[in-house]
């Protein structure tokens, strides 16, 4: 299994009364009341330091993503983060998870920037191709919700051709018209591995299966919550006659590792609580603009109790144990974490695991401790999970380290 550290780059110091006083963490949190640019510069640098540290400690890859007007994650340009990671890491995959296709104008910009990251890093790019969330794309970036999927597919087609074709070509799309497409630079990996995040909608699953991409479930609600949708993914692949190679699936899981179960709770609980209480304080009206999902998905989700049902439940009285029991967070001693992770990974068939190790308000030093404990005591146990089955990870960048590192550096 490949294990990657994911970072959201959150605001780490939101006020205690944030969720009472402010309307939403996303779209309209007032910058001038909540943030200071100098301090925020520190957050970005901590984020980069933490990802670089994870790479040094032996993680297979480092992941960044894109959000807008969002205090729980504000890397509006993941490629800016990825470009510096490309310089300061040696052999880790640079997983951009990713630049949101419908928001790029023209999407050729993503073809170019991804190619830059790939050549700077020596072919270590994983090209995430997200549809983008409704808050980001519709409310922050003004794209009509009903156009979002069509724009996504068109942008995808353009980017693929921009990398693959040797001729200078015209692209006559509905949303993008370019007379001369001639990509400079082209990536080292002619076809960088493409990972597509999703929540299990039939249309996205079929898209991923058709193109043979890696499908990624990125949710903050853990492996138990995701099981039903992940199962549907494998069932659909099986129906379509595809193999069940675990590397076809990426999965994000929040993880905290302490010396003991008790120490994990003591160290990390307040940051977990901060994450779920403050970082996910999202106005539901901003969460899903009408038209963001297509009609058949709207019907399916409504019949199933509403889109994102349960997401906005009140969890303010949850204890550490509740988060772990429900597997929103895998937490505890290294042995316990390794055992929980292995069970989750085997149950869901995860080949490309992403772990969120900096959570909410978690400070820099504690994050490094979480990274170190994970790298030294958990990673070696979970990495070989699929080795015996002999699957090939066709979704791994050719320039990144293929095997486990020879020795993990200690710093």
């Amino acid at each position: 299994m490949k294990v990657n550290m994911f970072h959201l780059m959150p605001h780490r110091e939101l006020p205690d009364d944030f969720e009472e006083k402010y309307h939403s963490v996303w779209i309209d949190p007032p910058w001038s009341e909540l943030a200071d640019p100098v301090r925020v510069g520190q957050y970005y640098n901590w984020t980069l330091d933490e990802l670089e540290y994870a790479a040094e400690m032996g993680f297979d890859g480092v992941c960044v993503n894109e959000h807008h007007q969002n205090a729980y994650g504000f890397m509006p340009s993941p490629n800016i983060m990825a470009s510096t990671l490309a310089r300061n890491t040696k052999d880790a995959a640079i997983v951009v998870m990713g630049a949101t296709l419908p928001a790029a104008n023209p999407p050729q910009r993503i073809a170019e920037e991804y190619a830059m990251i790939d050549v700077i890093s020596g072919g270590r790019l994983v090209a995430g191709m997200p549809l983008g969330s409704s808050p980001d794309i519709n409310y922050a970036y003004g794209i009509p919700p009903i156009e979002q999927r069509e724009r996504y597919r068109e942008a995808h087609d353009l980017i693929k051709q921009a990398w693959e074709r040797d001729d200078v070509f015209a692209f006559n799309g509905k949303y993008t018209q370019l007379r001369y497409v001639n990509t400079w630079p082209k990536p080292i990996q002619k076809n960088p591995p493409i990972w597509v995040p999703g929540t299990g909608s039939r249309s996205t699953v079929d898209f991923v299966a058709k193109h043979g991409y890696c499908y990624c479930f990125l949710s903050y609600f853990g492996n138990k919550t995701a099981k039903k949708n992940v199962d549907k993914y494998w069932e659909r692949l099986d129906e379509l006659g595809e193999d069940l190679n675990p590397y076809r699936l990426g999965f994000l899981q929040l993880v905290v590792v302490g010396e003991t179960d008790a120490k994990a709770e003591e160290d990390y609980f307040k940051h977990i609580k901060y994450f779920y209480d403050k970082c996910l304080h999202i106005d539901p009206n901003f969460f899903l603009a009408p038209g963001h999902v297509d009609h058949s998905s709207l019907v399916g989700a409504t019949r199933a109790g509403g889109y994102g049902a349960g997401m906005f439940d009140d969890r303010s009285n949850w204890k550490f144990k509740d988060y772990v029991d429900n597997q929103f967070v895998i937490g505890g001693s290294p042995d316990s974490v390794a055992q929980q992770l292995e069970e989750a990974v085997r149950t869901l068939r995860v080949g490309n695991l992403m772990v969120l190790l900096q959570i909410g308000s978690m400070p820099h030093e504690l994050t490094k401790k979480n990274i170190a404990l994970f790298a030294e005591e958990v990673l070696p146990k979970v990495r070989p999970i699929w080795d015996a089955e002999g699957w090939e990870n066709k979704w791994w960048p050719s320039g990144a380290r293929q095997a486990a590192p020879a020795a993990v550096s200690n710093r």
Binding site: I143, H295, T302
Partner: protein
């Protein structure tokens, strides 16, 4: 997000629609066979086309009133009834206007009176501006389509019901508001109505997201139809200042400004709006 509306043919506005008048529904195919959409027809007399708001097609007592004197044609925006993806076959407002001319053609209407409410008001103005010969009289009720930075049309897709209700209704706790917002009791019917409302907003959003001003001011000078502008004094969604803006942009138009009404004056003040509109259309 919240949509306001009543199912076409269903009860709305606190009063059951008249059942004595027969209502028919036609399926129309336009845009060289690509777009299928529906029109609800009721009444007899000269033709009046009614274009619904962003919440989707709805039959209501105001339309019943009109159908006593006119033949009311209420076409639904493609996608909001029948084939949900029909809306994807229409690229932008220009093609949407062309679609409505084809609808008029198929209904045998050369130059009907056109009434539009809210989003439908914007469409009515676009249709009357693009080809002025196709619209004999124009009634704009709480129409969108214009924009002032200082007095913005509120974001009806991003506001929750608690914030939206007081903007839309003069009496947000009143009977009319309750009935218009009510969902059926039965679970499947309730889900159907939730889907219908959400998808109606998705379809109208194709033409007005994220700001419902798409250049109408640059075209509206072409309107030649006699125009009546109807507004609620307490409209919090599209503030009444926009009534004055429309009046200024359409020389010779009249404004009917109603107290005790907000964004649905034709139902909130049906007592005044119905006779005024009938009078205007008959003149």
């Amino acid at each position: 997000m919240v949509a306001i509306g009543c199912p076409a043919g269903g009860p709305c506005g606190g009063v059951e629609p008249m059942t004595t008048t027969s209502q028919t529904k036609k399926t129309l195919t336009t845009m060289n066979g690509r777009v299928s959409s529906h029109v609800t027809i009721q009444g007899s007399g000269p033709p009046v086309v009614f274009l619904h708001g962003a919440g989707g097609p709805q039959w209501d007592p105001f339309l019943d009133d009109l159908s006593e004197r006119f033949t009311v044609y209420a076409p639904s925006l493609p996608g909001t009834e029948g084939d949900p993806d029909a809306v994807r076959e229409i690229r932008g407002l220009w093609e949407l206007a062309l679609h409505y001319y084809e609808v008029f053609d198929q209904l045998g209407l050369s130059s009907p009176a056109v009434i539009g409410h809210s989003f439908g008001g914007m469409l009515a103005a676009e249709i009357a501006a693009t080809n002025p010969e196709r619209v004999s009289k124009l009634v704009l009720i709480a129409a969108i389509g214009l924009w002032r930075d200082e007095q913005q049309v509120q974001d009806w897709m991003g506001l929750g019901p608690d914030d939206l209700m007081p903007l839309v209704f003069h009496e947000p706790e009143g009977e009319l508001a309750k009935q218009m917002m009510a969902l059926p009791e039965e679970e499947i019917a309730k889900q159907d109505e939730t889907i219908r409302r959400s998808w109606a907003l998705a379809c109208s959003g194709a033409f007005i997201w994220p700001i419902p001003e798409k250049g109408l001011t640059r075209r509206i000078h072409r309107v030649t139809a006699d125009t009546l502008i109807v507004w609620g004094k307490n409209d919090g969604l599209v503030p009444p200042v926009y009534a004055g803006d429309f009046a200024e942009l359409i020389p010779g138009s009249e404004v009917l400004m109603l107290d005790r009404a907000a964004h649905v004056p034709q139902l909130e003040r049906r007592d005044a709006v119905t006779p005024a509109v009938i009078d205007f259309l008959s003149g």
